[in-house]
Symmetry: C2
Subunit: 173 residues, 2 copies
Amino acid sequence: MRRIAFLLVAFATVAGIVASSARASGHADEAADTIFGIKIPPGYRDWKLISVAHEEGSLNDIRAILGNDRAIKAYREGKLPFPDGAIIARLAWSYVPSEENNKVFGRAQSFVAGSATNVQFMVKDSRKYAATGGWGFAQFKDGKPDGEAKLNTCFPCHVPVKARDFVYTRYAP
Amino acid sequence: MRRIAFLLVAFATVAGIVASSARASGHADEAADTIFGIKIPPGYRDWKLISVAHEEGSLNDIRAILGNDRAIKAYREGKLPFPDGAIIARLAWSYVPSEENNKVFGRAQSFVAGSATNVQFMVKDSRKYAATGGWGFAQFKDGKPDGEAKLNTCFPCHVPVKARDFVYTRYAP
């Protein structure tokens, strides 16, 4: 009897830990996009840096491209195609002139990251996403996934870099 | 006797591991700068992202600001001053238009990271660097530290943001 009680307590403890881990990961309950079924990967903001970029025009953002460990390893070893499980994240922020920095530099030359615009993910799964080069594509704004119409435009734009496994960003040394 | 032989082998093995770890860290033998005595921190390229920026003018670079775990924790908790041991790294690359990207966007709008220009570090040690707000400053180009004349210009430029513990970069959400 005492043994059963102990097991019940142990089970409840483990269940509690699992539940609170799910909450701590932050995105466990968030919606997946409807076409590739991708959710925001927990902890992506902690991933290692692949490179940075700036887009003018209607995007007008400054961006960082991060990778999970599998993606970073493949980049550093120069191995293509990327292995299943590799995920590349593209974070973007509004492109904002920094008056504070400009004052110090003595001229208008400094641009920094403002508020977050959206975050994109490329998720490698060569079987699940065979129809789109082995990659699933997702974009989230304020935690909400973009719909099918938007996501259907991703893969066609990545076809020109098929030779680099459909990935534009190169690793910044 | 066999015991002594075993200990000698064990010692030699450990010494070998330590020596090869030092080599693997890549920067163990590199020079420190002459004014703050800072060496390139091993593994800084793996640190988490604080933010990104672009500088026009003679710098003409695109940059990422990374932090070691102590720096990232302080940023995320909004705690000032930064604790001793916090290190902020500023990596910069030449600012290069991407014809490949522009072709896909249909207009000249895309700028990416080219070759590395230099890397800077701010190292917090409130006692060692008490004369410069608790921060040591270093800049390395191709692994070689910049000299005193250059580094003496660092701190004066950071004084305007004394209220933020002399750190310009804000954490990108």
